[in-house]
Symmetry: C2
């Protein structure tokens, strides 16, 4: 298994994985903010993945986007592969609302992170796992 | 042909199109900043596209990312579908450098746009078209 970059490991909670990607929850309760990290060594850009892995990343991203859309009913999803700070390829999936902490600005560096309670994290895991149990196009294995 | 959102049309120059997406140049000389806009009506999110269109968007995005990588040799690409301001689905493709105007911060709202000269725009078009002529996995038609 690819080692998750120390900065991601520190900022995020590992929730589990799809066939290609680890699924992380960013520890910032300002927004439902998740990150997909392909389990591949030394990849910084989407175009560096094999064509098969690119397709799988797309499939998992679309599957998880539908999950976020249905669970959170956001005003907009923000999907982004930036990586200026953490070079390991990772794709942000963020549910945004007109009333959130920095709308319409992008979330990166906008406002300080706020902590989740243990109860909130348990609730998020339950909602996701319930959705994954009823939507099986991509297999998810929680940790 | 889908109408390009007025805000995008104002901020960007239409360079041409791939089979699915219009290719726009953002009028901000701070960064090589391009935008792919799928030519589909009433689509806000990648997961709202048909599966075939999702695949084509991926193909065009990867093709254009390789183009940016080879032409600009950036330190990092930033690929993002945000859309908090302009709801029409559009995917940013930005070549970033450690020495650019706001590295490592994201570009949106970071520093005021600076104008391109006509000569700079002509030079960008020539470099892109030359690359597209030698890399034909996706057909590009300039305007």
């Amino acid at each position: 298994m690819t080692k998750i970059h120390p900065q991601l490991a520190q900022d995020c909670l590992l929730l589990g994985r799809f066939p290609l990607c680890h699924l992380l929850l960013n520890r910032d309760a300002n927004y439902p903010w998740f990150i997909l990290v392909p389990d591949r060594e030394n990849i910084r850009e989407i175009h560096e993945l094999s064509e098969k892995d690119q397709q799988q990343l797309l499939s998992e991203s679309v599957f998880f986007s539908r999950c976020l859309q249905q669970i959170y009913t956001p005003d907009k999803l923000n999907i982004a592969a930036l990586g200026n700070v953490v070079p390991q390829l990772h794709v942000h999936h963020i549910a945004r609302y007109r009333h959130d902490a920095c709308w319409p600005a992008p979330v990166w560096g906008a406002v300080p992170a706020t902590a989740y309670t243990d109860e909130q994290i348990t609730h998020i895991k339950q909602r996701l796992e319930n959705w994954f149990q009823h939507n099986t196009a991509q297999v998810f294995n929680g940790v």
